[in-house]
Symmetry: D2
Subunit: 345 residues, 4 copies
């Protein structure tokens, strides 16, 4: 029996997460890039927008309305926030979709409005959407029509914390998440502080003190696991590296216990490694891959611990996660096409 | 009356802090580099060891025993830890010394032994040494013979925390210091993880959970300010930038109050700026300079706040601080030669 | 007699060269920043546009028409190309001006039109302007009213080549200039390829094969020195470093002879160092400074040689050069305020 | 018929090229890493030496004498230069070997001695070895027992020049190769200038003027193609990027003709792309991949042209090339396992 090939559309292929999807699909044995859209760059070959993809035989960028969705098995939607919900509500209602924007991450319309500043345009879809953190929503994702890719910071923090919150081994009112984030997380946006001349050779905090929108995801998911509201403290920092997020979680809990809980939780996970107790991970070691490394160490202050998690924001934090979910939605092994080793150095 | 010129020796001039001292003294109107030592590179011109200094008319590197200390007004000692104490005890007892190593930072011999793993070789000097955080020891430094330069991480953390601890406006049992550190802090040491190929484009924690030696300084100084033991939590992270430390302090306290206390404390300090409330600093903005920027922001969790401080580890965190202290010891204005603006971009 | 202080206006202070001027003037003993203009950011304090300058007591940005030029001794004009000529023709005709744009570098209106694509708006001023490569136009600059700062690439190439062309020791029809350029040379322009994510960790040629506008300057200056047209080959490459240009000149000539000619030419120059024969320079060693380092090495092919020159594009290649010229125009020693050592590492 | 799996040993697996081999083999459908050696790190798990490989099930590092070569189908030898020849002469004489060192690149013992400073220890093997630039030695490689991987600089230059020399469309006495090289090319060697603090944010030439050992390869291969000695000029420059080489070839020839020749030569090559005339490549676009991009542009000086070639030094310039050759030697399609897309950004 020949291996079935699934036809894929990528909506919003001119940004980094769109390009990363193309990269991953290029060596995926069962996915085929059939349509690529980009409104402002419609008509251009991908090799012009992203010369690193020039060796691939890809369709030119087109407008969304030019795509024949009847020939598409699954669409990745890598459009900007807010645009995504407007587009998706107009797509065929039986089309499988993995959305990489923030639009369907929050199930509660009120929470959406709180964090994103306006009412949701497709609340009926919001309800249906499954949150895309594969390791924690695997069964729902398998049968979902619409999966909402997580925020990359939100993913990193949840890998560090979800099992600990679920098991009740940390003080829920004392969770601090200090993130160090690579610059590609800001996307291809033209801002002065993202220029090489201003970004390289320095770092700074941003969205500090609890204003970052990924907090909406943390609040939703942690409350669900804890059965009560959990309000963590979370501030990200911009670091001069292109890919990678390092989450340092400062916790009240017994380090050895935390380590045991994490090891148990991830023991059979193909992409999540818990390092030996006392060993801490580096973003260098997951660059370009779908892997997550997690380390635990005790603090000198008794009863306090650090958990550090790293992943590649564009891959496991976004497009790799999206492919992992698509694999499940299309009935494949979830690791298909995602076992590429990190690129080091 | 002609401006007096003070003759300076730099012991250990072949490392980064030694070279930074030469750089600062090059445009200092009242200091003159008279002797430079470097045991392994004795006999070499500085322009060979550090070509960026080739425009200067400098003495060749020599051995310490070749220096005529009777012609020296003040010696900077930029030798490795442990070497420093052995060398300094043999220097003339009336020679003014600013030591940049860790050897005289801890006043208590037991604390020294705890953090550095062996007994101190010159405990009598340890007692006399004045801790070199200028803004907090100014009067003692003015009359000191031996000043102990602080750790660069220790300096950054103290600028963020000292006034808050002194004023009692934060919970002393809930102080978390998450540092992001530039690689020059590791010195010119040849280690695989410091190679460009392994360091660039990623970050990682090190000396995690309360094992970093600069904790000895925090413990000493915070206890003194608080009048009781204070055990903070402190973990540094290595970030791919050459110069700069960013300290994120996660605190229990009222942000506005913290901001007011810091503003008061530093209102007349020439090198320390407290940014407007809610604005956070970037290491980019102090690179190559003796300035410190501090920002305060409230967290969404009531009663919690973040204080972020940045400085250049080689300058304000080490060699710039050393010159500032030397200025005081030699009767000059403490800002002399140190007002150079940061280098951006 | 008190040292006279000269009042300075910087037109176009919100770009990198404007900020670099402010940085240099901050420690200049005889210049005082009196007015700063920035059309789009008028009304903003400099500390908001460039937080690294926040320790300075600076005037807010204003519009050009708000400046009282009768109180100004010299204006630096760091405006965009083409804007500069329109602005300068309206300024008081006795105001000393150092222009950092490309507008007055080419004396011949036809050459200007060829390289910049439209007729010059102030050809009468074009004629008066003195080309600002200090070491070669020193006497003219001293008495000039309008000095045209050179292109940063053009400066680097000329330091390597001018004496060799003047002395006739290289084949004028075989001059290849392969440049490696730091990204700040592109200014604060918002382009995708200048984003950290796209620029770091790679390099590429641009304006290849003889299309870069700085060729207009090379053609003008080399023809003048040689007494005949000289058409060099010149292609720059963008390298992931913020500051610095390295020019590799591939030449037909006897290396030892070339070295001797360069040594002679620069023997008394305060800012230009010719390294020992066979030693090549690094941009690391001039970063943040007004120094130029030049090295010469013979090729294994007899009669061929390499000359490599490095400088900091924002300082010696632009704003440092501008201050050096202003020093001369205002009757000061040309090194005043420019002797700061490079920043390494 | 099941796909045959070939068992692979990697000798010298603790360096960058060794690790890159493991990375590539990890997703290669027909190669299996069976033995890994590393003398100084024998006994250690690979996950300790290279944490980025921790998700793989790999043998621990061992000493060469512990490997059972009778169970090995092909050995990659990633040992240091000189060590390699001593080791390979003792290996079973029927074992297929791809050597990544410089030891078997030069066929002529005299040339070897000239460039490497001592007589070859295994001249009889030197003669048998096939030069590993796949596109030009494909048939020989298919049946070779010992293939000598090329220098990474040598590979880049040859992709730009080989067809042009073979077709006689450029002046053979006027070939200049100005290379921009990523730092991983220097390997994991602990040198001050390779530290992040000294390497980042600057660039410099090295092995200038015709002293780099890869010239031995250029001389050998170009003479063979031209039927006469060809002595190019070649100087590499170190650029702050981890992976990537950009070769700028300055040539006497008609650009359009050169472009046509290159297009013809590489028309059916799976890994070599010739860009449209006038478009130049970037190392960013081949990072982490086995692809080569080549661009051609005319110079303003008639009859002169630039050819620019880029590749990833660790992959196509070394370990990817080695796998490509191994594929041929073991009877597989040469692209097997090598079609991974570059990693951007």
């Amino acid at each position: 029996m020949p291996t079935p090939i699934h036809k894929i559309a990528i909506l919003g292929a001119s940004g980094y997460t769109g390009a990363e999807l193309v990269r991953l699909i290029a060596t995926h044995p069962q996915l085929e890039t059939t349509a690529l859209t980009g409104e402002r760059k419609a008509g251009q070959p991908m090799a012009q927008v992203f010369p690193f993809l020039r060796h691939l035989d890809l369709p030119d960028l087109c407008r969304i309305e030019e795509v024949d969705f009847s020939a598409i098995d699954l669409a990745f939607c890598a459009l900007p926030h807010a645009t995504s919900q407007a587009v998706i509500r107009e797509l065929p209602h039986d089309l499988r979709i993995v959305d990489l924007s923030a639009d369907f991450r929050l199930r509660d319309p009120a929470a959406y409005e709180k964090w994103y500043g306006k009412p949701h345009a497709a609340p009926e879809l919001q309800e249906q959407a499954v949150y895309g953190l594969t390791e924690f929503y695997r069964d729902d994702i398998r049968t979902a029509r619409l999966v909402a890719g997580t925020g990359c910071n939100a993913a990193t923090g949840q890998y560090a914390l979800n099992p600990l919150i679920a098991e009740g081994v940390i003080d829920l009112d004392r969770i601090i998440l200090d993130l160090k984030c690579g610059v590609s997380g800001a996307g291809r946006s033209l801002k002065e502080n993202l220029l090489h001349a201003e970004m390289s050779e320095g770092c700074n905090a941003y969205a500090a003190g609890g204003t970052h929108r990924h907090l909406g995801e943390f609040d939703q998911e942690f409350a669900r696991l804890a059965g009560r509201p959990v309000q963590i403290q979370f501030t990200p920092h911009l670091v001069p590296m292109n890919r990678g997020i390092l989450a340092t979680a400062w916790l009240d809990g017994e380090a050895a216990r935390l380590h045991a809980v994490l090891q148990d939780a991830y023991a059979r996970e193909p992409f999540v490694s818990v390092l030996p107790f006392g060993t801490l991970p580096s973003t260098h070691d997951v660059r370009g891959s779908n892997y997550v490394h997690i380390g635990v160490v005790g603090d000198r202050v008794p009863g306090r611990a650090l958990v550090v998690a790293v992943l590649d924001n564009l891959c496991k934090g976004s497009s790799g996660q999206a492919v992992q979910n698509a694999n499940l939605m299309l009935g494949m092994d979830e690791t298909t096409g995602l076992l590429g080793a990190p690129v080091f150095p």
